[in-house]
C-alpha cells in the first residue's frame, strides 16, 4: 500500500512539475518552498527566553515524545511540533494549542496533563515528568518570546490563486476583436488545435434559445433570423433573447439548484412551504432586470436591511426538520445542522469555498479555521426557519381603510342596540394585532400616544402609523421623528426606531422601560391634516402580552398645547384571551327598527370578515430573526463540548469585520454580505463568471464550480477567468453584459460537430475547439415538448402547480398525478419543488432533489428515462396535441412532416427524411410519428 501510494505521489509530482514549468507558475511553488525553508531555518533565532530555551530545553522533550507523530514525517491531525510557529498555528482540531502567556488555557498542556489516560499525550507511554511539564508551561507562559512568532504567523501570505487580488490581465493580441476569443485562441494554438467553423444559422438560433430560454425557437423566429442579412443580425437576436422574460425563468433554474431551493421542508414530514414561491419569482425577476450581482448577494443575505425582504428566502431555502424531539442534546444538534446548511450554502454559492469542512476541525486545504466557522455561525445564529410577513400592498391597504370607515360608521349606528350597561358609542376592545383610531381631520405636527395601563409588563408597540391623505406620515423615511418617555435597554429587536420603520412584528418593535406605562411621540414633517391612526402590539400575531389597554392619543402644533383625539375610554374593556365583542340586543324596539338593526349587524359581520382577510399580510418563507446569545467554538463540532466564545466574523485570514460579540443580528449579516459583494473580494466575481460560463458551455473554466479552494482545480484559462471577473465588476456586476460577451464570441458560435483529430487531443473539449453539445435538462425537455405541441402556458409567477396528489397526513405523501390538464402546462420552474420526490416523468433526467447544493447537474442516460418519454401518459397526451396542431397548421402529409421537423428540430427535413417518414406513416399513424419525434435525440440535445 505504502509503495503504491508513494508511486502515485511521485508520478503526481513529476506531472505537476512538468505542468507548472510549462505554464510558468512555478513562482508560487518556489515561494512556498522558500517560505517553509525560511521558517525552519529561522526558528532557532526567533525567540529566546532567559529561563527556558526552545532549542536547549523544549525541543528535546518534543523530539523525544511528540515529533514522531507530530513532526515533518507524520503530522497527525496536521499538527507539527518541530517549530514554535507550527506549534502556535496548532493542528486540525481547532483547539488553541498554545495560548501565549496562559498555559492553563493551552490545549498542549491540557493534553499532556489530563487524568484521562485514553486522551493523554503521549499515547501508550507514561506521562511526562513534572519537570518536563514545568518546562513546557514556562515556555508557553513566556509572552515576550511568543510576540514575534505571533507577528510572523499573522504575516504569512496566502498564495492560493483564487485568493490573490483580481487584476485585469492584458488581452492577448492575436488579431481578434472579442477578448474571449483571444484568450481561447491563444490556448488552442499552444496545444496545436484549431477552432471549428461557425455553426449554421439554424443551429445557432436553436442553441441560443435552448441555452438562454430553455425553449426551442418557433419556426417563425427561425425564419425571421434566417432572412435577416444585416451584419448585426446575431447581436440583435442576442439582445432580443436577453430581453424576453423567459430568459429569467431559465437562468433562475440554475440559481435555485445552487441554493437548494425547495417548496417543502424535507425530512420525514416533508410538509409544504406555501409561501416559498415568492423567492423563486424574486430570483426570476432579478435575472430579468439584470439586477447588479453585488446587490443580488446583499439582498439574499440581508434583504431585510435594504428593503428587499423576499431576498432572504435564500437563507432558509434549504431543508428543515419540523420534528423536534424533547431530548435537548439532539435538539442542539438539529439547530447546528440548520445553521451549517446556511453557512455551507453561503460559502458554496457566493465564494466557492467549502466552509462546512471547518465545522469539526480546521479546513485541511484552505485558510479557514474552526474559529472562522463558528464566527460565521454567530453571523447566522439569529436566523430561524419561518414565514415572514411582508408589508401589505398599497391597494390592499386602501381597501382596508375603506372597510374600516364603513365598520366605524356601522358600529356607531349599532351603538343604540348595546344594552345600557355599556355606554353608548362603545368601540371594540383593543387587540394585539390591529387597532384603528378614526377621528375628524385635524392639523397636527406632534402626535403623542400615552399609555397608562397594559395587559402585562412594559408596553410594546410594533409600529405607530399616522395617516394624512392616505399616507403614513409617521414613517422615518417620510421625515417622521420618534421620541419616547423611555426605551427598554439591551434589545436590538426592541428599539425606538422600530416604531416608525415600516416593519411589523415583535422583532421590530418598541418597548418602554416603565412597567405598565410610557409614551411615544412622532413629530411629522411639517403640519399636516391627519384623520386616522393605526397601532398594534404585534401585527404578526405571535405576542399579545404588553398590550396597551388604557391610552390616549393627543396632537399638538407646538408640543405644549395638546388636544386629545382618541382614547381607550370609548372602548369595551380588554379581556385577555380573546377580543370582546359588544352584544347587540334588538328586543324592546319596534320591529322596523329591530329589522334595520339586524341588517346593519349582518353588514357589520360581513365587513369584519372582509377586514380580517384584507388585514392579512402576504407572507414569504424568508426566515425570521432574533438577537442570538453568545456563540462558542465547538470542539469536534460537538454541541456538548463548547469552547471559547467567538465574535461574529467571516474568514480571519481574508478579512476582519470588526464586529463586537454582541453586534445586532442584522448588522452581522449585513457585514458579511458587504464583504462578499465587494470588488476587493477576490472570489466573488471569479466564482460567478465561472458559473455563467459553465451554463453556457456545459463546463466551467474551473470545473469544480463550488470549490475554488486548494482542493479544487485550476482554471483551464486563468487569464480569461480573471479578465471576465474584472469585466463583470467594471460593468456594474451586470450578468447580461458577460452573457452578451460570451454569446457574441466566435467561441460560442462554433460548430459542435466532433473532429477526430481534436478529439484525440482534448476529448472533453475543455479547450473549446468546438461548442460542446449536450442533452437538455429535465425542464428544457418538458418545456420543449409543451412548446412544440402548442400547449405551453407562459404565464409568469405566482403560486406553482403540483405534480402530485398529496396525502395530507402528518407525514405528507406525494403520489404522482396521472391526469394532466392546462394547469400543468406551465413551465417546469413553476412546478412546486417537493424535496426528495421527483416528477414521475422528468425527474429521472437528473433533477436534483433540492436537499443539497447543486452547482451543476449530472447528466446520465438510463432506460427509465426512455420508458418515461415513450410510455408516460403525459407524453402521449402531448403527442396527441402535437398531431392536432400539425393537422390544423398544414394539409398534406408532406406539409405536416415538414412542419413537425421545423417545430421539433428548427429545420425542414431532407428529402430522404420525408421519404422515411412517409414510409413509416403508411404502416403506422400520426400519434406514433409524434411520439417518435418527441423522443428523438435531435429534439433533446443542444446542437
Amino acid at each position: 500500500m505504502r509503495n503504491e501510494q508513494d508511486q502515485i505521489g511521485m508520478s503526481v509530482m513529476a506531472g505537476r512539475r512538468l505542468h507548472l514549468e510549462k505554464v510558468g507558475v512555478n513562482r508560487i511553488l518556489i515561494q512556498k518552498i522558500n517560505l517553509v525553508v525560511a521558517m525552519l531555518l529561522t526558528f532557532a533565532s526567533v525567540a529566546r527566553c532567559e529561563d527556558v530555551d526552545f532549542q536547549r530545553d523544549v525541543l528535546p522533550i518534543l523530539q523525544e515524545h511528540c515529533i514522531d507523530c507530530h513532526g515533518p514525517d507524520e503530522a497527525e491531525s496536521q499538527l507539527r511540533l518541530d517549530s514554535e510557529l507550527s506549534a502556535l498555528r496548532g493542528g486540525d482540531s481547532g483547539e488553541r494549542l498554545i495560548v501565549p502567556g496562559k498555559s492553563s488555557l493551552s490545549y498542549l498542556i491540557e493534553r499532556i496533563t489530563t487524568e484521562d489516560s485514553d486522551a493523554r499525550m503521549p499515547p501508550d507511554e507514561s506521562p511526562l515528568s513534572e519537570k518536563q511539564v514545568q518546562i513546557l508551561r514556562s515556555w508557553v507562559d513566556d509572552t515576550t518570546r511568543w510576540k514575534p512568532v505571533e507577528t510572523k504567523l499573522a504575516s504569512q501570505k496566502i498564495d492560493h490563486w483564487s485568493l490573490q487580488p483580481l487584476v485585469r490581465p492584458e488581452v492577448p493580441d492575436v488579431g481578434v476583436t472579442n477578448p474571449i476569443d483571444a484568450f481561447i485562441a491563444t490556448k488552442l494554438t499552444e496545444n496545436k488545435l484549431k477552432n471549428s467553423k461557425r455553426a449554421s444559422k439554424r443551429s445557432l438560433i436553436r442553441r441560443l434559445y435552448l441555452v438562454m430560454h430553455g425553449l426551442p425557437p418557433t419556426p417563425e423566429q427561425v425564419d425571421s433570423y434566417l432572412s435577416n442579412q444585416h451584419p448585426d443580425a446575431w447581436e440583435a437576436l442576442v439582445d432580443d433573447v436577453l430581453k424576453q422574460p423567459q430568459y429569467g425563468e431559465r437562468w433562475a433554474t440554475h440559481w435555485l439548484d445552487l441554493v437548494r431551493f425547495g417548496e417543502t421542508h424535507g425530512f420525514e414530514t416533508n410538509r409544504e412551504r406555501p409561501h416559498a414561491w415568492r423567492y423563486r419569482d424574486w430570483v426570476i425577476n432579478s435575472f430579468n432586470s439584470d439586477k447588479p450581482y453585488d446587490k443580488f448577494i446583499i439582498q439574499q443575505i440581508a434583504g431585510d436591511a435594504v428593503g428587499e425582504e423576499i431576498g432572504t428566502g435564500f437563507l432558509v431555502a434549504g431543508p428543515y426538520d419540523l420534528v423536534k424531539g424533547q431530548d435537548p442534546a439532539f435538539r442542539l444538534i438539529q439547530r447546528q445542522d440548520e445553521l451549517a446548511d446556511m453557512i455551507n450554502t453561503t460559502g458554496t454559492a457566493f465564494l466557492g469555498l467549502t466552509l462546512g469542512c471547518a465545522r469539526c476541525h480546521n479546513h485541511k486545504f484552505d485558510p479557514i479555521t474552526q474559529t472562522d466557522y463558528y464566527s460565521l455561525q454567530a453571523v447566522f445564529a439569529g436566523v430561524d426557519h419561518a414565514d415572514r410577513s411582508l408589508p401589505i400592498p398599497v391597494e390592499q391597504k386602501r381597501k382596508l381603510v375603506e372597510v374600516d370607515k364603513q365598520i366605524f360608521s356601522l358600529e356607531q349606528k349599532l351603538a343604540q342596540f348595546i344594552p345600557e350597561k355599556s355606554p353608548p358609542g362603545t368601540r371594540p376592545a383593543v387587540t394585539a394585532t390591529s387597532n384603528v383610531e378614526l377621528f375628524d381631520p385635524v392639523d397636527a405636527k406632534y402626535i403623542r400616544f400615552t399609555i397608562s395601563k397594559t395587559s402585562s409588563s412594559q408596553p410594546c408597540l410594533d409600529e405607530l402609523e399616522i395617516f394624512a391623505n392616505g399616507r403614513n406620515v409617521a414613517l422615518a423615511s417620510l421625515g417622521g421623528k420618534a421620541s419616547s418617555s423611555s426605551n427598554l435597554p439591551g434589545y436590538e429587536i426592541h428599539k425606538l426606531e422600530h416604531l416608525n420603520d415600516g416593519k411589523y412584528g415583535n422583532s421590530h418593535s418598541w418597548i418602554s422601560n416603565e412597567s405598565g406605562t410610557g409614551w411615544v411621540q412622532i413629530e411629522i414633517d411639517g403640519i399636516q391634516i391627519i384623520d386616522r391612526i393605526e397601532w398594534a402590539r404585534d401585527r404578526d400575531g405571535r405576542y399579545s402580552d404588553r398590550l396597551a389597554t388604557e391610552y390616549k392619543i393627543a396632537v399638538s402644533l407646538d408640543e405644549s398645547t395638546w388636544q386629545v383625539i382618541a382614547s381607550s375610554k370609548d372602548r369595551l374593556p380588554y379581556k385577555s384571551g380573546k377580543q370582546t365583542k359588544p352584544t347587540y340586543q334588538f328586543d324592546g324596539v319596534s320591529p322596523e327598527i329591530a329589522k334595520r338593526g339586524r341588517a346593519w349587524l349582518d353588514d357589520l359581520n360581513t365587513l369584519q370578515a372582509r377586514r380580517s382577510k384584507l388585514a392579512e399580510a402576504p407572507k414569504v418563507y424568508a426566515g425570521t430573526f432574533h438577537q442570538p446569545g453568545p456563540t462558542h467554538r465547538l470542539y469536534r463540532g460537538e454541541p456538548s463540548a463548547p469552547r471559547e466564545e467567538v465574535v461574529p466574523a467571516a474568514i480571519k485570514a481574508l478579512t476582519d469585520l470588526a464586529l463586537p460579540a454582541n453586534a445586532p443580528e442584522r448588522d452581522r449579516r449585513l457585514a458579511v454580505a458587504h464583504w462578499i459583494a465587494n470588488r476587493d473580494n477576490s472570489l466573488t466575481a471569479r466564482v460567478m463568471v465561472n458559473r455563467l460560463w459553465q451554463h453556457h458551455f456545459g463546463t466551467g473554466l474551473v470545473d469544480t464550480p463550488s470549490d475554488f479552494g486548494a482542493n479544487g482545480t485550476l482554471p483551464t484559462h486563468p487569464g480569461l477567468l480573471d479578465w471576465l471577473a474584472a469585466e463583470f465588476i467594471d460593468s456594474g456586476w451586470s450578468v447580461k453584459h458577460i452573457q452578451k460577451l460570451i454569446l457574441t464570441s466566435n467561441t460560442w458560435q462554433q460548430e459542435s460537430r466532433p473532429r477526430s483529430e481534436a478529439m484525440a487531443v482534448d476529448a472533453a473539449s475543455r479547450l473549446l475547439w468546438r461548442f460542446p453539445g449536450r442533452r437538455l435538462e429535465a425542464e428544457g425537455i418538458r418545456d420543449s415538448i409543451l412548446t412544440v405541441t402548442g400547449q405551453i402556458d407562459l404565464e409568469m409567477g405566482g403560486v406553482g402547480f403540483s405534480a402530485f396528489e398529496i396525502d395530507a397526513e402528518n407525514v405528507r405523501h406525494y403520489f404522482p398525478k396521472t391526469d394532466f390538464g392546462p394547469a400543468d402546462w406551465r413551465r417546469m420552474i413553476y412546478m412546486t419543488k417537493v424535496r426528495q420526490e421527483r416528477d414521475a416523468v422528468f425527474g429521472v433526467f437528473d433533477c436534483p432533489d433540492c436537499s443539497q447544493v447543486v452547482p451543476g447537474r449530472s447528466r446520465s442516460t438510463t432506460p427509465l428515462q426512455a420508458l418515461n418519454l415513450l410510455n408516460s401518459r403525459f407524453v402521449l397526451q402531448q403527442a396527441d396535441f402535437f398531431v392536432k396542431r400539425l393537422e390544423s397548421e398544414s394539409k398534406t402529409t408532406e406539409e405536416k412532416i415538414v412542419r413537425a421537423y421545423k417545430l421539433c428540430f428548427s429545420r425542414p427535413p431532407e428529402k430522404d427524411e420525408i421519404e422515411t417518414a412517409i414510409e413509416f406513416l403508411e404502416q403506422s399513424d400520426w400519434q406514433q410519428f409524434a411520439r417518435a419525434m418527441l423522443n428523438a435525440n435531435e429534439f433533446v440535445f443542444i446542437p
Binding site: V23, N191, G325, T704, L714, S858, A866
Partner: protein
C-alpha cells in the same frame, strides 16, 4: 455515458500529459498530507454500459445485498436483545433516568417485553416469541447488539441507516454499491427498492435516492402489487405498432448521429432505448409470481387469507428472492410504512401501545422473512448474498411516562446479518444489563456500513465521489470494518 465532474485521477492524468492546463497548484504543499490518506478508487464505468458488472477493490465475499429494513425503529428489547435483568427489575426505575428526557419526554419504569424469550437453534440464542420463526433460524444469523446512531428522530434516523448521513440528499448504500459494482443482469434494474404494501417508509425515497451520484444509480421502486411506472406499453398501442415506432425513432437517431461521429452521449441514448425494451420484457417476468409453487406460497405465507397484510408482504419477500436470483445487485425490502396510520399503527414506532401494535407487526414480519432466508439458503443463494436486517434505531427499556410503549433510543440497538461472508451463529457486542446503551464492542452505523462494503469487496475509505469540493463517502470520515464478524 455519464458526464460528471472530473475525478482527481483524471485531472492528474490530464496534467501529466500537459493537457488543458488543468492542475492543482498546491498539491505539492499537500503531498505530506495526502500521502497518509487513502486515494479514491473510482469505478471504471464503460459509457455504453453504465450498469455493466465491475471489479470490486479486492475479492468480494458477497456478490449482492438484500437489506430488510424495519421502518419505525423496531425494538431490540422485544425481539433479539435478551436482558434477564430487565425482567428481574421490571417495574423499577431505570437507574439515573430521573431527569432523562428522550424523544417524547420523560421516562416511566423499566418494562420487560410482553413476549417471552426462548433459546433457539443449537446455539441457544435467546429470541422472543414475537418472532419465533426467525428465532428458529438463529444459527444462521450474526447479531450485532451494540449499534449506535446519531439521531433520535425517524427521518434523520432512516437517512442515517440508508445513506450514512442524517441529512437529506446523500446517496443511499444501494446507490453507492451499484455505482461501484454495476450489476450482473443488464435486463433488470441494478438496484430495486421494494416498499411495504402499506406504503413508503418515513424518509420515503431518500432511503433509495442517488444523492449527488448520477441519477442512474437511484433505486427503482416497485413491489409485488405496485408495478414499475411507465414500464408497460401504453393502452391502445399494439405491440407491432410500438415496435415500428421504436425502429423509426432509432432511424432518426442513427441518421442524426452521423453528423456527430464519436459522440458518446448520443450513442448512449440510442443504447438506452434498446435496454428499455429488454427491461419491458424482463421486469414483468420477474414480478410474475404465478410461476411459484403452492408450497412456496405457503412457506412464505403468501396464501394467508386471514392475514392479507402478511400475505401481501410475503409476496414482496418472494419478489425479493426472485430479484436476487436474477442477479440484481442491491435489493432493499421495507417492512413498515408511515402512510396508513403513522406512529406505531403501520410501523414499528411503538410509543403508546407497544404490545397491541407489535402483536400485529410481528406475524407480518416473522414467517415471510424466515421463509425468505430459508428459501435463499436452500437455493444456495446465501453463499453469494449478504442479508442485512436493520432498523433506524432502537427503543428504551423503560415505558414512556404515562404510556404503554417505548421511546426512541439510538444508544444501543440490534441488527443482524446472514449469508455471504459473515460468521453464524455469532453475536457481537452487547448493551448494558437493561439493553439501554451499547457497552461492549460499541459499533456505529458507520462501522456497520464499512463492514457491508467490505463484504462487497469495497474499501469504504476509497469509494468516494467528488462533490462540492469534498470527497464524499458512505461513511463520511468515520467507520471501521468489524473484522470480528467476518467469516
Amino acid at each position: 455515458m455519464f458526464k460528471q465532474q472530473p475525478t482527481r485521477r483524471q485531472l492528474l492524468i490530464d496534467s501529466a500529459n500537459g493537457l488543458g492546463g488543468i492542475a492543482l497548484a498546491s498539491i505539492l504543499q499537500q503531498q505530506g498530507l495526502l500521502a497518509s490518506e487513502k486515494k479514491p478508487l473510482r469505478p471504471n464505468i464503460d459509457s455504453s454500459q453504465p450498469f455493466g458488472s465491475r471489479e470490486s477493490h479486492f475479492p468480494a465475499r458477497a456478490k449482492n445485498v438484500l437489506m430488510i429494513f424495519c421502518s419505525g425503529a423496531c425494538s431490540q428489547l422485544d425481539t433479539f436483545d435478551y436482558k434477564p435483568e430487565l425482567i428481574n427489575r421490571h417495574g423499577q426505575p431505570l437507574p439515573g433516568a430521573e431527569d432523562l428526557v428522550t424523544f417524547q419526554g420523560s421516562q416511566g419504569n423499566l418494562t420487560k417485553s410482553p413476549w417471552e424469550f426462548k433459546p433457539r437453534g443449537e446455539s441457544g440464542k435467546m429470541v422472543s416469541e414475537l418472532v419465533p420463526m426467525l428465532g428458529e433460524l438463529a444459527d444462521d444469523m450474526c447479531f450485532i447488539h451494540s449499534l449506535t446512531g446519531k439521531t433520535n428522530t425517524h427521518g434523520p434516523g432512516e437517512n442515517f441507516m440508508s445513506t450514512g448521513y442524517t441529512l437529506d440528499g446523500f446517496p443511499s448504500m444501494g446507490a453507492w454499491t451499484t455505482w461501484a459494482l454495476g450489476t450482473e443482469n443488464q435486463d433488470l434494474p441494478a438496484y430495486v427498492a421494494i416498499p411495504d404494501p402499506r406504503g413508503t417508509p418515513q424518509s420515503s425515497v431518500n432511503n433509495w435516492g442517488p444523492g449527488f451520484l448520477p441519477a442512474a444509480y437511484q433505486g427503482t421502486d416497485f413491489n409485488a402489487t405496485k408495478p414499475l411506472r411507465n414500464l408497460d406499453r401504453p393502452d391502445g398501442i399494439n405491440a407491432a405498432s410500438d415496435r415500428q415506432t421504436r425502429e423509426f425513432l432509432q432511424k432518426l437517431n442513427r441518421r442524426h448521429l452521423q453528423q456527430f461521429p464519436g459522440d458518446s452521449e448520443l450513442s448512449a441514448r440510442i443504447a438506452s432505448y434498446e435496454l428499455a425494451a429488454r427491461m419491458q420484457l424482463s421486469v414483468p417476468e420477474v414480478s410474475d409470481l404465478t410461476t411459484e409453487s403452492k408450497s412456496t406460497l405457503k412457506m412464505y405465507g403468501a396464501d394467508d387469507t386471514e392475514n392479507p397484510l402478511k400475505a401481501s408482504f410475503a409476496k414482496n419477500c418472494i419478489l425479493a428472492r426472485r430479484l436476487v436470483e436474477e442477479g440484481v445487485r442491491f435489493v432493499q425490502l421495507f417492512n413498515g410504512a408511515y402512510q396508513t396510520g403513522g406512529e406505531g399503527v403501520s410501523n414499528w414506532d411503538g410509543h403508546k401501545a407497544l404490545e397491541k401494535q407489535y402483536a400485529k407487526h410481528g406475524p407480518v414480519l416473522d414467517q415471510p422473512v424466515a421463509a425468505l432466508l430459508k428459501d435463499l439458503k436452500q437455493r444456495g443463494l446465501l453463499k453469494e448474498t449478504l442479508v442485512v436486517w436493520c432498523t433506524e434505531f432502537g427503543r428504551m427499556p423503560t415505558f414512556q411516562a404515562g404510556a404503554s410503549g417505548r421511546d426512541h433510543n439510538p444508544k444501543g440497538f440490534t441488527a443482524w446479518l446472514a449469508g455471504a461472508g459473515v460468521k453464524a451463529p455469532f453475536t457481537y457486542g452487547a448493551t448494558d444489563e437493561f439493553g439501554y446503551k451499547a457497552v461492549e464492542n460499541v459499533a456505529t452505523v458507520y462501522d456497520f456500513h464499512a463492514t457491508i462494503l467490505h463484504l462487497l469487496g469495497l474499501d469504504h475509505e476509497r469509494l468516494s465521489y467528488y462533490h462540492n469540493g469534498i470527497e464524499r463517502r458512505l461513511t463520511d470520515v468515520h467507520g471501521h470494518v468489524i473484522e470480528d464478524i467476518i467469516a
